[in-house]
């Protein structure tokens, strides 16, 4: 059993699931009906990606694991998602900015991952790339719109950058399992995609008339199970039925 491969696949799955969870919280509460649909659609894409990765992780794990045991029966310390996915949605600026930062990262990540020596990972990445391309476009348009919109929206976007930026560094600090998979070209060298990501962010920020923070600090831990205090609440809510009615089929 390849523990690193399982961990890596779970890391990708958890990141997608928690992101989908947060986005789905907007459903029915968006600022414009068309955008309510858009953000729900993105949530759906993320849940779909999560399912693909979980199914693969389950097949690697054996032991009766399924996509649902992995999503619903692990506690905080076993989740490996990026911290940035679990912070609260905040306002529309914070949500769309996070979407942009995460989707741009995923874009370069999946671009590489589609050439993984692991066929399953490659296939999921290739399949997801079209969705992610749309997510990047949609979210970058919002970042630009809000940054170059009204004074209020500009201020709100700046506040969002202030809230979120420290959580982006974690994307590019490889966990041990990432480093291991890197050597045999199963995973992606996140350090190598950082400049691409940064370039894209700078480009969009420039159009949005905002800057990348001069000083920053890397909030990390998610990849190895050390999370923010928010994740516990997410899981308590998400996992309630599976926990309260063990073994039931739905």
């Amino acid at each position: 059993m390849n523990t690193s491969l399982i961990n890596y696949t779970l890391h990708l799955a958890d990141t997608a699931l928690v992101m989908g969870h947060r986005n789905s919280e907007w459903c029915g509460h968006g600022p414009v009906l068309e955008q309510d649909i858009a953000i729900s659609n993105i949530a759906l894409d993320f849940i779909g990606q999560a399912r693909n990765f979980y199914q693969y992780a389950a097949s690697l794990s054996g032991n009766g694991a399924t996509e649902d045991t992995l999503a619903y029966l692990r506690d905080v310390q076993d989740f490996k998602n990026l911290l940035i996915t679990e912070i609260p949605n905040g306002d529309w600026a914070q949500t769309t900015l996070r979407q942009f930062l995460v989707s741009s990262y995923q874009y370069y990540l999946y671009q590489q991952l589609q050439y993984s020596t692991d066929e399953q990972l490659a296939a999921i990445a290739a399949k997801s790339l079209k969705e992610v391309t749309y997510h990047v476009r949609w979210s970058s348009e919002w970042v630009i719109r809000l940054g170059d919109g009204t004074e209020e929206s500009h201020q709100r976007l700046l506040k969002a950058v202030d809230e979120i930026w420290n959580f982006t560094g974690e994307m590019f600090v490889p966990a041990a399992y990432e480093q291991e998979l890197n050597t045999n070209k199963t995973g992606v060298d996140v350090l190598a995609i950082q400049p691409l990501w940064l370039h894209k962010v700078q480009e969009v920020f420039a159009e949005a008339t905002i800057s990348i923070p001069a000083k920053s600090f890397i909030q990390q831990g998610g990849k190895t199970g050390i999370h923010t205090e928010y994740l516990g609440y997410i899981l308590a809510e998400m996992q309630f039925l599976q926990r309260a009615y063990p073994g039931a089929e739905w």
Binding site: L17, H21, S24, E25, C27, G28, H29, G30, P31, V32, L33, E34, Q35, D36, I37, S40, N41, A43, L44, I47, G48, A50, R51, Y54, E67, D68, A71, Y72, D91, W92, I144, R145, L146, D148, G149, T150, E152, S153, R156, I234, E237, M238, F240, L241, Q242, Y245, G247, A248, E249, W250
Partner: protein, 314 residues
């Protein structure tokens, strides 16, 4: 002259010729349609909330994806319907304003809370089921844009209804706790669903005119009976009970008899005294108010872009 127009209009209706936005129509026809279509649109939007309440708590990933897609479909229905209403000369913002001020109504059923996962099944089976019963005839309604919107809506709704029934079926074949959950949901949703067809025919004053205009094609009681007949059969598959001791097959009428409806509850909920009226409307108003700065920013940005483009061209 106006009289002649009205006569010609009615003749077109009688010949089943669709009325289109640019056609002449009686003011009352227009107003009735605006009221009905916007009420329907609002119902889709408010209807997102009770089901949206379970997206983050869906019991597995497959159900989560299905539910999220379903609620998103409802937003889509709202969109088609608002567009159809706009062809009658009212803006979406005006319609929202009427919703938020309480002037416009929406389907009362969405003022009931969703208290367990089984409610997702009961809403699909009963609420969407009743909605389809009401809506299928509207695919042939006299106003073109409305009829075309309804075709799309109905196609998706019947899909949702099957999904709902399947949720209940799974629960009904599950553990004791799941069966109890399913029965409890049916107990709570049955009567409100029955009320979705509106007051009894003799207390539904607009029905005659609406039927003449072919905005409506069956009476409330006709549709209600049809719905009861279908559900009374389907419940057998679930091996659960419809909470009506008077529900009984009537050989003579060829229909199921059913017990008296608590119309007092119906009028109370319409009057704003349902379990969730305030909660639902507050949620929508909050979404709208919280979104104001976003909409302003989007317009401001669009303006800026247009100006820049104009400057470039100049």
């Amino acid at each position: 002259m106006e009289k002649d127009m009205e006569q010609m209009f009615q003749e077109r209706i009688d010949k089943e010729i669709r009325i289109e936005p640019k056609d002449w129509m009686p003011e009352k026809y227009r107003q009735t349609l605006i009221r009905q279509i916007s009420q329907h649109a609002h119902s889709e939007i408010i209807g997102m909330l009770p089901e949206g309440n379970w997206i983050t708590r869906a019991p597995n990933l497959r159900r989560k994806a299905i539910l999220l897609a379903k609620v998103q479909d409802e937003a889509g229905h709202g969109l088609y319907l608002y567009s159809a209403a706009e062809t009658l000369g009212i803006s979406r913002d005006e319609m929202y304003e009427q919703l938020h001020s309480g002037k416009a109504k929406y389907s009362s059923i969405f003022n009931y809370p969703t208290l367990s996962w089984a409610d997702m099944g009961a809403i699909g089976w009963l609420v969407d089921g009743a909605a389809i019963m009401n809506q299928v005839p509207l695919c042939r309604t006299s106003y073109g844009p409305y009829a075309r919107a309804m075709v799309r809506v109905c196609k998706e709704e019947s899909f949702h209804q099957r999904q709902g029934f399947e949720i209940l079926l799974t629960l009904s074949r599950g553990t004791e706790a799941q069966r109890r959950m399913a029965q409890d949901a049916i107990n709570r949703w049955w009567w409100p669903s029955i009320m979705m067809f509106g007051p009894k025919d003799d207390e539904s004053p607009n029905t005659i005119q609406s039927m003449k205009w072919k905005i409506k094609r069956f009476t409330n009681d006709e549709l209600r009976q049809k719905f009861v007949d279908i559900c009374a059969e389907q419940i057998k598959i679930l091996n659960l009970t419809i909470p009506d001791p008077d529900l009984k097959w009537n050989e003579t009428t060829g229909h199921y008899d059913f017990g008296p409806i608590n119309w007092d509850e119906f009028w109370q909920v319409i009057a704003g005294n349902g379990p969730c009226n305030k909660q639902r409307l507050d949620a929508r108003k909050k979404a709208w108010e919280d979104g104001a700065w976003v909409r302003e920013a989007a317009s401001a940005h669009a303006r800026k872009r247009a100006e820049r483009l104009a400057q470039k061209r100049a």
